[in-house]
């Protein structure tokens, strides 16, 4: 049997084991901390190993489990695509396995049930692993819904507070609807391919119309899970509600599983792509990216902010995928490969730095029980380790060279800039506009994370419990450290990463980026050396060299020592912490410039004690545009329909009579 598959099976087994082990954790909390979560991490390691074997091996291995429907047992398949996502899942899982044990200590004396936490975490991981391994629609759906379900229970973990309950409700509902859409998409493919295993679906001969139906269903279903605007409403509610390491899993990994599903169905199963779809995906993707970052910029709750920024990054990933669709659909496999690789690259980068950031948020929550940015400040001094790792996360997510976020966004830009290859002038002029939106997104993202870092970690503490924050235990720090190293590695060695990722497009398009490393490992030249080149290692080298030089000089005492003094601040009164710019204040110019996109309730209200209070509430327009009307319609219909149950038996009999007569009339 194929080594990768054995490892994958091992990963599945470990994940299930971790969920089983934690069942008795109610009475013995150490089981969760000491056994279940380490097993969780090991499962991640196994998954990583399996994924890497598949990526490097290149050949696809299949297996059949004696479960599922009689005529449709569970098919497993491990190929480059699933290998890539296995790696993604596994890496983050390892970090979580290191981070979580010391994080969950905080829950041990709480009222929330540890068995639920551990058990559903294990099932959650199992579901995600099975999704990427599934090779038939039935198993895929089972795994998919298992994933949604387990994560629902994790979102509802703190079910004593109403917000979590509401979030969980919205989440499960939308997950269910999305799942049904996906199921119907498979239904289309199956009815043309004559079978539910993916082999048959690949062979399905689809007319453009039916292919588009399948595409739309898949895009809706997976987009709903991935949190594309306007189907993102559940995301900023659900992700923050879960415990932080689970938020990391959801934002960092689960969204990528949705991306995987989209790729599997559209690029692999439907196979024959049409450029019109690409346009749609690009449009949705860039809108999601822009709105996501704008909403993130408006948040004051750290975890909500991170969740919204996930919307942004998923939007960027889908922008890349849309470009790939477009290029492939109009016959430019090389460019399609470039865009595709960029998308995958950004996917894994986002998994890394978003998990890192959620770990940071978790550490703050763990140390201060605070999520509101406007209460924080000066945390860099209190928890330096978290501060530094969080800074790396911010630099990466703000797409700054030489960190990893930049490499993938740079490749996305390069892909967009190849639009001049296209025949249609309209597309040629539209795509750079989406690239400009991407640029705007990137710059706003930088602003957003300047705000986060500046308000949370710099300046002075805005409240006492922040000043008295205690440092995260070593396990959490190790978890962060691993991700920091990975972020740096993925940022500094883009050529290596691209070289590995290429296995996926080789499998899907039969195409790679031949020129990518034309000038050696140091220079990333995706199209051709003279077209574009980026030498991350050199940049990093020069930066470190000169910084080290400066540091060394000051160490030698060649530079005069600095003298400490009070801040000057234009000679005003000595500043107090309350005088600092808050996150609300920082976002005010953007709020004003992009005011149209938000629903802003702003005003000054008088408290009971006569003091004045500034009230600001920035909310998501998607609610009033999409969700509220639907809910209203259902309520109205329900209110109408219940009149059937009038309570009078004679009216009921009347219904019977009328039905009878109508039917008799019909059949005559």
């Amino acid at each position: 049997m194929h080594a990768g598959l054995i490892l994958a099976a091992l990963a599945l087994g470990l994940a299930l084991a971790s969920s089983l082990v934690s069942l008795p954790a109610g009475r013995r909390p150490w089981l969760l901390r000491g056994v279940a979560l380490p097993l969780f991490g090991l499962a991640g390691a196994a998954a990583t190993a399996a994924g890497i074997t598949a990526l490097l091996g290149g050949d696809a291995a299949t297996a059949v489990l004696p479960l599922g429907l009689p005529w449709l047992p569970w098919h497993l398949r491990l190929d480059a695509l699933s290998g890539f996502f296995l790696t993604l899942i596994g890496v983050v899982t390892v970090a979580v396995g290191l981070y979580a044990p010391s994080y969950v200590r905080g829950f041990e004396n709480g009222r929330d049930s540890l068995p639920a936490l551990g058990g559903f975490s294990g099932l959650f991981l199992t579901g995600m692993l099975l999704v990427v391994l599934a090779d038939d629609a039935f198993l895929f759906m089972v795994a998919w819904e298992l994933m949604s379900l387990a994560s629902y229970f994790l979102v509802a973990f703190h079910h004593d507070n109403a917000a979590s309950r509401r979030a969980a409700f919205l989440y499960l509902l939308m997950a269910h609807i999305g799942g049904l859409c996906i199921l119907l998409g498979f239904g289309v493919l199956a009815s043309f391919g004559g079978g539910f295993d993916f082999e048959a679906m690949r062979a399905a001969p689809l007319s453009f119309g039916w292919a588009s139906v399948a595409f739309v269903l898949a895009f809706t279903g997976f987009g709903m899970k991935a949190g594309l605007v306007p189907l993102h409403a559940w995301l900023p509610e659900a992700h923050p509600a879960a415990p932080s390491h689970i938020s990391a899993m959801m934002s960092g990994v689960m969204l990528k599983v949705a991306v995987y599903g989209f790729i599997r169905v559209v690029f692999d199963l439907i196979g024959e792509l049409h450029w019109q779809w690409g346009v749609a995906v690009i449009a949705i993707g860039s809108v999601s990216a822009l709105l996501g970052v704008l909403y993130a910029l408006m948040q004051n709750d750290l975890k909500r902010l991170l969740a919204y920024s996930s919307v942004e990054n998923v939007g960027i990933v889908f922008l890349g995928l849309g470009l790939a669709l477009l290029f492939q659909g109009s016959g430019h496999p090389l460019l399609a490969t470039l865009a595709f690789v960029a998308a995958l690259y950004h996917a894994i980068n986002h998994a890394l730095f978003k998990s890192l950031l959620f770990f940071g948020a978790g550490a703050i929550l763990h140390g201060t029980h605070e999520r509101d940015l406007d209460q924080m400040g000066g945390l860099l001094r209190v928890m330096p380790w978290t501060g530094v790792s969080f800074l790396v996360g911010c630099l990466s997510i703000a797409a700054l060279p030489p960190f990893n976020g930049f490499a993938s966004e740079w490749m996305t830009f390069q892909a967009a800039l190849q639009a001049w290859h296209l025949e249609s002038g309209v597309l040629r002029s539209l795509i750079p506009i989406s690239a400009a939106m991407l640029a705007l997104t990137g710059a706003l993202g930088a602003a957003c994370f300047v705000k986060v870092y500046g308000v949370a970690f710099l300046g002075q503490a805005r409240s006492r419990h922040i000043r008295g924050a205690h440092r995260p235990p070593v396990g959490m720090r190790v978890g962060q450290g691993v991700l920091v190293l990975l972020c740096l590695a993925f940022g500094l060695l883009p050529t290596t990463v691209v070289g590995v990722i290429e296995a996926v497009p080789r499998q899907l398009f039969g195409q790679v980026l031949p020129q990518a490393t034309a000038h050696g490992w140091m220079w990333l030249t995706p199209i051709a050396p003279q077209t574009a080149s980026y030498a991350a290692p050199l940049i990093a080298f020069v930066l470190v060299l000169l910084l080290g030089l400066a540091f060394w000089l000051s160490r030698l005492g060649l530079l005069r020592r600095v003298r400490r003094c009070d801040p000057w601040d234009c000679g005003n009164a000595p500043p107090t912490p309350r005088m600092q710019y808050t996150s609300t204040a920082f976002a005010q110019p953007m709020r004003r410039v992009f005011g149209l996109l938000f629903r802003i309730e702003e005003g000054v209200e008088t408290q009971k004690d006569g003091s004045l209070r500034y009230r600001l509430n920035v909310s998501d327009r998607a609610w009033e545009i999409f969700y509220v009307p639907i809910a209203r319609a259902v309520e109205l219909a329900a209110a109408r329909i219940v009149r059937l149950q009038s309570g009078n038996v004679r009216i009921y009999l009347g219904w019977t009579l009328v039905t009878l007569l109508v039917l008799l009339w019909i059949i005559s």
């Binding site: 000066g378 040629r428 640029a439 710059a443 600095v562």
Partner: protein
């Protein structure tokens, strides 16, 4: 050849550092003349830097280590960005380190740390400056990239030296798209380098300052580095504009004569540009912060027109 190329590249990088204050001095001088003042001597900028380096450096109690590291990061990042822009000669190895998008990225890196440093001490002005700076940058970046895309799509490359090469190879072509792109790039440059009408480097009036508000707490060598970085940034944009749009004279082979010619050419072009900038700053007045978006939207519009002009008028599919 390769060794000489690397040497030349390093020389060019040092040249950026060396020339940056000069351009600032020249602009100030011309400006003063236009305002009927004698103005400071041409080398005043160098003297200021020297003086600042000599002074004692003070750091607020509330400042974190990041505050002290920031000036170096800002300076180095800006300098790295500058290295990638051909000053004297095309296809130097440093040009391949970073294409134009990376240059923008490096500038963003510098800005990121500048803004963080502004928020570090925890004074009101620092935060204010940071917030405004990030807004302006966010609005400027798309315009900048759109303008650059126009060039890139014409030259089919984002590597500046290849772009310049392509232009030289094509000879003199009057492209409507370049007109718009140039306009857009000029406006963006004004915004990014914090010149009038977006920001005024010469004032410390609390409510209007942006860049100055962020470096308010700096002194001594830290301040010097920050100032120097700003000057390099100005030079960088100047060179970018003149060498990309009017590349003539820049050396294509690494021969002494060509290099000399290239140097002379770029100096002349920069002097002219500086003069234009000075005139502009003299006739214009600084605008309110919330007028800046309109200003940058104009830049974006110009860049967009440039792009469309390129697609419609020049390729014509």
């Amino acid at each position: 050849m390769n060794a000489t190329a690397w040497l030349l590249a390093i020389a060019q990088a040092l040249l950026y550092v060396a020339l940056a204050p000069l351009l600032v001095g020249w602009v100030r001088k011309v400006k003063a003349r236009l305002q009927n003042r004698r103005g400071p001597p041409l080398l005043q900028a160098y003297r200021d830097l020297y003086k600042l380096f000599g002074k004692e450096t003070r750091v607020a109690h509330t400042a974190s280590p990041l505050f002290r590291a920031a000036p170096y990061v800002v300076f180095i990042a800006t300098w790295l960005a500058a290295m990638a822009i051909p000053l004297l000669a095309v296809d130097l190895p440093t040009a391949a380190i970073a294409d134009i998008i990376v240059v923008v990225g490096l500038l963003a890196l510098a800005r990121f740390f500048l803004a963080l440093a502004g928020m570090d001490v925890g004074t009101a002005f620092g935060g204010m400056g940071a917030s405004r700076e990030m807004l302006i940058a966010a609005l400027a970046e798309p315009a900048m990239l759109m303008a650059v895309f126009t060039l890139a799509m014409t030259a089919h490359s984002t590597n500046l030296s290849s772009v310049v090469d392509a232009h030289l190879a094509a000879g003199l072509v009057l492209r409507p798209s370049y007109l718009f792109a140039l306009g857009a790039l000029l406006l963006v440059a004004l915004a990014e380098t914090g010149r009038i009408p977006v920001d005024n480097p010469a004032t410390h009036l609390e409510l209007t300052m942006v860049h100055e508000a962020m470096i308010l707490e700096y002194s001594g060598r830290h301040l010097a580095l920050m100032e120097w970085a700003a000057q390099i940034k100005l030079l960088l944009y100047g060179v970018l504009i003149v060498n990309v749009f009017l590349p003539w004279g820049i050396a294509r082979e690494l021969l002494p004569a060509d290099l000399g010619l290239g140097f002379a050419a770029v100096v002349v072009k920069l002097l002219l540009l500086g003069a234009v900038l000075a005139v502009g700053e003299t006739v214009l007045a600084k605008m309110r912060l919330f007028r800046v978006p309109a200003f940058l939207n104009l830049a974006l519009l110009l860049a967009l027109l440039g792009l469309l002009g390129h697609v419609i008028l020049e390729v014509g599919a």
